[in-house]
Symmetry: C2
Subunit: 162 residues, 2 copies
DNA sequence: GATAATAAGGATACCATATATCCTTATTAT
DNA sequence: ATAATAAGGATATATGGTATCCTTATTATC
């Protein structure tokens, strides 16, 4: 059970976009080049972010993407669900209903106890991811990445941002 | 990102095994019939449980499976990891290393901040699943399932247990 | 001792999905 | 008018989950 690599891509792209000055846009091409990713396929992930309303786009030359909301209002979970969907990791197929000892026509009331535990674990996962915003990520990155690389990267980015 | 259905199967099978009297064994055939599952494929999941040391097996007629430990010492996470593996849901491909602005030969120190957040979420998921044992599940099931069905099921099971 | 039922596991096939590429269309800055 | 962009449809490939079949070793029962 592994998340799509598009999730990783989307998170890194959003991290970059959150450092973009107001009103500027960054293209798929630049984001792909910056991360060493296939442009066409990365485009699908960015489209997912757009459809989820997390980023805003413009067309034409100098077009691209910017965050649609302040970085403090975009969580990891928002981004992950935009790309991966918001389904649960555990799907209950209600196999208890196959029990041959059940009376004919017996109908389950309530959810399966096993599924409930699994869904609580899913919710713990979500809760953690909902608690971290792009703004917080940006602070950590800025404190961890050597200033030379950090600044150099944003020079590179602004050079290409419309 | 969905867990294999074998995880669901293994959890339900372990729930049944945890209600089995000391020294009795239940076969793949009975477990498959009880849950309406393909016997041969369910067998793979049970083999995973066996390889993980969660269940003990015997061969020959009247052979089958029993828990290898008290139900209070077997957690949801034990069972899930036996079937699904213990890998993380987020794989970090270190795409930050593709940044063209990095100095030649620059080597990352420490893990990626994005990966760390994802792994903390994974750990929250694990922590929840590690906190629930088969013994606790058994108590919930016994309190929720109508006594007629609960008892009928274990009559059915004991009828087939070696 | 013969028989039958079982777990273990290898081989194979099928199918859904993730990954990846290519192409067309509409939009828009230059 | 031109060129660069996002959006998205179509298609191909790789991987992994699902499922079945078969063989082997073990062992309870007759």
């Amino acid at each position: 059970m592994i998340l799509k690599s598009q999730v990783e891509w989307a998170l890194h792209c959003c991290a970059i976009l959150s450092g973009l000055p107001e009103g500027r846009y960054l293209s798929t091409k630049a984001l792909a080049e910056l991360h060493g990713l296939p442009k066409e396929y990365l485009s699908k992930a960015l489209q997912s972010l757009s459809q989820a309303g997390l980023v805003h786009t413009t067309l034409g030359p100098s077009g691209g993407y910017r965050l649609a909301k302040p970085a403090a209002e975009v969580t990891f979970l928002d981004i992950i669900e935009a790309v991966e969907g918001n389904g649960r990791t555990f799907v209950c197929n209600n196999i208890r209903a196959n029990n041959p000892c059940r009376p004919e026509g017996y109908c389950e009331v309530g959810s399966c106890a096993i599924a409930r535990v699994m869904w609580e674990a899913d919710e713990a996962w979500r809760t953690k991811l909902r608690s971290v915003t792009l703004a917080e990520l940006g602070q950590v990155l800025e404190s961890e990445i050597p200033p030379q690389i950090w600044n150099g990267t944003f020079e590179w980015v602004l050079d290409r941002a419309g």
